[in-house]
């Protein structure tokens, strides 16, 4: 008999394709939700991944221009002999620079400004451009200065005016539009001023405690930078100097976008997950609508495999089209990112289209649609041809092995995707577990609810209410599946909202009226009286007066830092070994500090041998410290033995001087130190007046006006917020599509019942009421559970992923939950509209027999 049916392989496939096309073409309206779910998910993923790749690529391409040289050696001290020798052995530097922040005054204006003074000798920058107006300004030949263009504009300065820095006055040759290694954000606080190197000494601004940086630039394109780092990195470390290559510069810049990038990836992840839920529910409806057709096809002699393949081919095609549209939308979308972010991006941004991202977009479309369709598709195998005869056969719905296999594949897919996006197996695993846990909890809540409502059934309610509530636990009820869909959707949307809030709040600075807003840095001990006098004359109150002593770590727990540097197995973070700690001493804690472990000691006597100190929690973590451990500090030549007596939690978000290391009173009073003073100025004019006085009398003091910084931070946050909202909106839109899909599934369950009720004489209002009760409860249950679970997940992510405090807002409770409930009821009502408007039989024929 077999040879009767023998037909060539290709004809068989051609027919399957033809059937898939014919059937899909006529069902295009019904496949809309399906495609939409994929498109939004993929668009978010592609846009975010592609943007990330572009950012990386641009930074790598322009990394030399970002630094201006192949590598540099820098230090906070004038180079020691070993370092000088080392530099000679490398062939000598091509250019050098001394830079520090300082106040500057200008001719023809009363204004003063905190600037970053950069004294340069030699041809730096070797890569990138020193853009000036007029162009090619030879400041070194003319013994003149280049001043940041924005400052020139703000203060109405022109080339030919002059600038006073400490003891010298230089003519301004040109305005400085850009210089490699300067980033827009920092430039707004301390705009760069470039002068010839030889004038630095004459300014007399380089004093103890000044934050001076000595940089030596090398032009050496043929050096293997990684090898160089290996060979001289440790030697330099030992001498408090650093090798900085153009590669590490761009990497460091890249890391700055870390939290932001993590959030965007979270958005992508959630959008895609929502898309997957959308696919699962839309295919479920789709196959449900096709049951009769499938039964007929089987009557006509199509076998299980053929039917399965017809719909699988459709799903693959839709996945492909969705992936294509989504990828296209994503590529378009990312074109807007640079405009939204503007100054935040350190490089001039050229958008390339990455084939890998495109490929992943397309593949994701196909894989996710196939994976999440497989369970409903496998269901077609169990559709009996008998159903064409309208005979309800013995329908055993067992979970087959293949369905378990599909579930496992889905879990694996989510894990792999999370891994791809987050690049961290632990995070990815926690994400998958989190999602699974959410599913379980939602399912438990739904079944508990069904039990409770059965037990305490409101017998006294009127008929529509009782009928509506009963629908929640009747046979074939949809409570579980809808609570799952609504719950997961709400959960994801609300998690996204909370995380967005969390990130934006993290950066928010509360500008209360009485907080200090003028910070004076680098005040030498002998200048304190003069500063106080100037403040008193200006009728300003001194709010804070903090001494700062700089020191480095000499040994940790008795092991020399030099030895730790050599030890590759050490768990101690490298920054600690090289860091110049700015330490203060006082006898009490301030509001932003809280003791976590140990005991705070605020005062010691002169003869204390081991000094009890307090360290911040992040330092304790990075240096692997607990209470009782010893640390030896090198305080400008003097070794001091200390012991960790307490570990503090510090709220770094507050605008306040916070310290990683805190000494008690009675030890550092006589050490070389400088001071930070702060005051509150009521307005712009008062701020300008006191700054002028300070610059005139005490030119080495740097003044930071926090109100300017706040304005700057606000504008930057505004841009980030825009992008975050924009992307979150995408995910939320996908979520709504998914909810619509899930609710449409329920349509077929209820329509027969409502038609029956209608036949028995139910009024339209009564049917409406029944629907409102049933769907209202479903919406409430799913919505509330979802939001509550998202509180937990956001808290977990705040701790593990973003490292930021989380204070939930009320918005999801006040807007999201009622919104979801109304949406669910609305869709429920529109589903029932046909029942109320048309005669019962017409509805049955139209909705059920198709």
């Amino acid at each position: 008999m077999k040879n009767l049916y023998a037909r060539s392989h290709s004809t068989a496939w051609r027919w399957l394709l033809k059937m898939a096309w014919r059937d899909g073409k006529a069902s295009s309206k019904r496949l809309f939700l399906f495609v939409a779910s994929i498109v939004f998910g993929i668009a978010a993923v592609v846009a975010i991944q592609s943007f990330g790749e572009n950012l990386k690529q641009n930074m790598a391409l322009q990394s030399k221009a970002l630094m201006g040289a192949d590598y540099k050696i820098d230090s906070n001290h004038p180079p020691k002999e070993t370092v000088s020798k080392l530099m000679d052995s490398l062939g000598g530097y091509q250019s050098r620079e001394i830079s520090f922040p300082s106040m500057a005054a200008f001719s023809g204006t009363e204004a003063t400004k905190l600037v970053q003074v950069r004294g340069i000798e030699g041809g730096f920058p070797f890569y990138g451009m020193l853009e000036t107006n007029p162009s090619n300004a030879a400041y070194q030949l003319n013994n003149a200065a280049l001043v940041d263009a924005t400052v020139m504009m703000q203060l109405g300065l022109n080339p030919g005016d002059s600038i006073r820095l400490g003891n010298i006055t230089l003519p301004i040759l040109a305005s400085l539009k850009s210089i490699p290694g300067s980033n827009a954000v920092f430039s707004s606080i301390a705009p760069p001023v470039i002068i010839p190197y030889s004038f630095i000494d004459k300014t007399a601004l380089v004093q103890t405690g000044s934050r001076v940086s000595y940089d030596f630039y090398f032009l050496d394109p043929n050096t293997d930078l990684e090898k160089l780092d290996e060979s001289i990195g440790k030697v330099l470390d030992a001498e408090d100097a650093d090798l900085d290559t153009h590669l590490s510069t761009s990497q460091r810049l890249g890391r700055r976008y870390d939290n932001f990038g993590k959030f965007l990836n979270l958005v992508a992840f959630i959008a895609l997950l929502l898309g997957c839920v959308g696919i699962a529910s839309s295919v479920q409806i789709y196959i449900k609508e096709k049951v009769q057709s499938i039964a007929v096809l089987k009557c006509l002699g199509a076998d299980n495999r053929q039917v399965f393949l017809i719909y699988l081919l459709q799903v693959i095609a839709i996945g492909f089209v969705g992936g294509l549209l989504g990828t296209f939308a994503g590529v378009l979308l990312q074109q807007f990112f640079p405009y939204l972010l503007g100054d935040l991006i350190p490089v001039s941004f050229e958008i390339a289209v990455f084939p890998t991202v495109l490929l992943v977009g397309l593949l994701l479309g196909v894989i996710m649609s196939v994976l999440f369709s497989l369970n409903p598709l496998l269901g077609t195998l169990h559709i009996s041809p008998l159903q064409a005869l309208r005979v309800e056969g013995n329908q055993t719905k067992k979970k087959s092995k293949s369905q378990l296999f599909v579930s496992a594949a889905i879990v694996l897919f989510i894990f792999l995707f999370a891994l791809w996006v987050l690049r961290n197996p632990l995070y990815a695993l926690s994400f998958v577990l989190g999602i699974a846990l959410t599913f379980l909890i939602l399912a438990a809540v739904a079944s508990l609810f069904i039990k409770l409502i059965k037990k305490y059934f409101p017998v006294g309610w009127h008929f529509p209410a009782r009928q509506g509530v009963k629908n929640l636990f009747r046979p074939q009820n949809q409570t579980l599946i809808l609570v799952l869909a609504i719950g997961i959707g709400t959960f994801l949307i609300s998690t996204l909202y909370f995380t967005k809030d969390l990130l934006l709040a993290q950066a928010e600075i509360d500008a209360q009226a009485n907080n200090p807003n003028l910070i004076l840095l680098d005040v030498q001990s002998d200048q304190r009286q003069s500063v106080k006098q100037i403040l008193t004359n200006a009728e300003l109150e001194l709010t804070e007066e903090v001494p700062i002593v700089t020191m480095r770590l000499h040994a940790i727990k008795g092991i020399l830092t030099n030895a730790i540097r050599q030890d590759t197995t050490s768990r101690i973070n490298r920054w600690i070994l090289n860091h110049e700690f700015r330490v203060t001493y006082r006898d009490s804690l301030i509001a932003s500090e809280e003791i976590q472990q140990g005991k705070w000691i605020g005062q010691v006597s002169d003869n204390t041998k081991i000094i009890p100190i307090s360290v911040s929690d992040n330092l304790a973590r990075d240096a692997d410290l607990t209470v009782g451990d010893t640390l030896t500090f090198n305080v400008q030549g003097v070794l001091m033995k200390t012991q960790v007596s307490s570990i503090r939690a510090v709220d770094w978000g507050r605008v306040q001087l916070n310290f990683t290391v805190l000494f008690p009173r009675g030890v550092l009073e006589n050490a070389p130190q400088f001071w930070v003073l702060s005051t509150h100025v009521p307005n712009e004019a008062a701020s300008a007046a006191v700054q002028q006085d300070l610059v005139r009398d005490l030119p080495n003091i740097s003044v930071i006006d926090l109100r300017q910084v706040l304005a700057l931070v606000e504008s930057l946050l505004g841009k980030i917020a825009w992008l975050i909202n924009f992307m979150a909106f995408f995910s939320i839109l996908t979520g709504l599509i998914v909810l619509l899909g899930a609710l449409k599934t329920s349509k077929y369950q209820r329509i027969k019942e409502n038609v029956l009720l209608r036949t028995l004489g139910a009024k339209g209002v009564q049917i409406f009421k029944i629907v409102i009760f049933e769907y209202g409860f479903l919406g409430l249950l799913g919505g509330i559970t979802g939001v509550v679970l998202s509180l937990v997940s956001s808290q977990v992510m705040a701790i593990w992923l973003f490292d930021a405090p989380f204070i939930p807002s009320w918005v999801p409770f006040l807007i999201l939950i009622p919104g979801i409930v109304l949406l669910v009821i609305f869709v429920g009502l529109t589903n029932s509209l046909a029942v109320i408007k048309s005669p019962p039989l017409a509805v049955l024929r139209k909705e059920v027999n198709v």
Partner: protein
Amino acid sequence: MCVLKLSEFIYLVGLTNTKLFLLYMPKILNVRNLKKTYSSGSNQLTVLQEINFDIEARETFAIVGPSGSGKTTLLGLCAGLDRSDTGEITLCDVALSGLSEDELAKLRNQKVGFVFQNFQLLPTLTALENVAVPLELQGNKNAMETAIELLGKVGLQDRIHHYPSQLSGGEQQRVAVARAFSNNPEILFADEPTGNLDTATGEKIVKLLFDLNKERGTTLVIVTHDLELAQQTQNILKLKGGRIVEHVKRASL
């Protein structure tokens, strides 16, 4: 046409040696000791029992009975859409119990045609595509030509590109009839073919069914509760409560 091979002949002899005389006529459907039960909850519901009958090739055959008598269940079993609990059905010389689901599907595709009460056209396919499907399933290269010809025979040559929703009930059933004959079946099962149609349209469909049946030499099995329709067939099998109560064989019409 069924052609009895020698081996199959011997097999049938072995199987039914008590009623050897039956083998002298070419039998297209052979039903022996059929029993079918459904379980509903914890109850066992016997829908069919002790069903024995044969249908000869080219015969017209009606299964009648009141609602719930098991007519449609019997039809489903005979056409290989479902499996019996006990007993044996031989369709076109093939014992159905020995076939897998996919082999059953192939058998239906090659030798069986269906007409349903509610037409059961694929809503997403045009009239032409609906009629062509059984042929395309066989890999027939002339599927479209044959389908157009058949649609012409049922008088729908002007509506071949219409979707089912654009056709009236009578037109839909005519498409269904064309589809039923498209694969040149040896046996055609019709389940209440006039059930969803008004009397006049129903009569036209019945005439079409019988005419095509005659022209093509097909065996026709009709399930109906319409006695007038049943009177037009050569055999009437009366069912009640899942048992055969009467088998009327009439002279050829």
